[in-house]
Symmetry: C2
Subunit: 248 residues, 2 copies
Amino acid sequence: MLKTSHRYQDTKDQAWSPNTWKTRFSLNYKGLPYKTQWVEYPHIAGLCKDIGAPPIGTYPNGSPEYTLPVIYDPNTKTAVSESALIARYLDKTYPDAPTLIPAATDALHAAFQEAIEMTFIVPLLPIMLPASNHQLNPVSEEYFRRTREARFGKLEEWSPLGPVRDAHWKAIEAGLHKVTKWLSMDGNEKLFFMGETISYADITLASFLIWIRKVLGPDSQEWKNVKRWDGGRWGKFMEAFEKYETVV
Amino acid sequence: MLKTSHRYQDTKDQAWSPNTWKTRFSLNYKGLPYKTQWVEYPHIAGLCKDIGAPPIGTYPNGSPEYTLPVIYDPNTKTAVSESALIARYLDKTYPDAPTLIPAATDALHAAFQEAIEMTFIVPLLPIMLPASNHQLNPVSEEYFRRTREARFGKLEEWSPLGPVRDAHWKAIEAGLHKVTKWLSMDGNEKLFFMGETISYADITLASFLIWIRKVLGPDSQEWKNVKRWDGGRWGKFMEAFEKYETVV
């Protein structure tokens, strides 16, 4: 029922989460060896505590907020939480590998995170969270649904098919169109934020675009739409990330 | 009455507008010679048309939106509208003068504009617009009041003294605190966005901070508060701009 009324695809992809994609893309782009530990939602806090990864903040009720991605680096015996801090840790610890955040752009990258959140990520959430829930194994599905619905109501009502969902996609399209404008403000149309070279800003964007392609499906009408927006730039953009999509 | 109930200072400063400060700081930082043409609000559109400066957009009613700053460059016989586009024009046309927006950061600078608007400028508006109105000559005051009040209601009610205005200042403080975090995300506390060197991101921020200092007054409690926030960084930050404050 859920599947047909919301047109979610039947296949599941273990590597669906945009936030963990930020770190997977970061590691793959830098060419650093690693292995993924798959974890169900109710076990995230325990895993973080086990490896010594700190919470990224506090929930309104005062309890610590543990979330993915986290990494544990056996070379330095260090655990790091939060994708943007992980990127900075990797640049600092492995300076000979390709740079994610050039030092002179560190604060601008931080401002970018704020801007992309408001412009693209927040508009995507009403589509993204319910469809992500459908990707999960039962133990995670129950946890994800309970925690999200406690704050924002029944997942199936966030973006019902029809005019509401259409309006959500219009907002997503407008957001990406604004990003396209950022990428040619000086009159030079760039594929990547810093020009020819991928940086963490692009990785952030790619981590949400890959969600649309993987979770809604590469043959879905939604992904086909995204690919043709803004003169086809987002399709080309994601082609450049194909060599960094390895899941290990 | 207005003055005492809203504690606006009695002196007026012709160079109060943050948006035109962006261009004044840009020109001063690049060391380019220019002269300012002072113009009252009702005459902005006419001046823009005279020099061939395009509108920056369209009002909801469909009429063109002419606004300051605009520049006319007699060397190239070119008029440019909108402070960020002016900065890019100046970098392109005068590449030997200090750079405002390094090419590799152009798109990140565009994202910064979005971020700083949401984080700091929008929270400042309920304080800024009514106090700015008080800076104006009668012909501009009437125009400014009429156009702003048509959209957002009586200026004096935007931020009445007491808990409402206190909450506005709390939001401004929180916004600047967030900016402070951006400036040390990699663990290196920086005075400027790109480190040691001023860029257009800093100029944007300075153009609104100078408004607080000039229009509310260098001895106002508000400016004293701003100067002590975040370990005194904003006072130091504005000291670095003193040599670019020349008004010609």
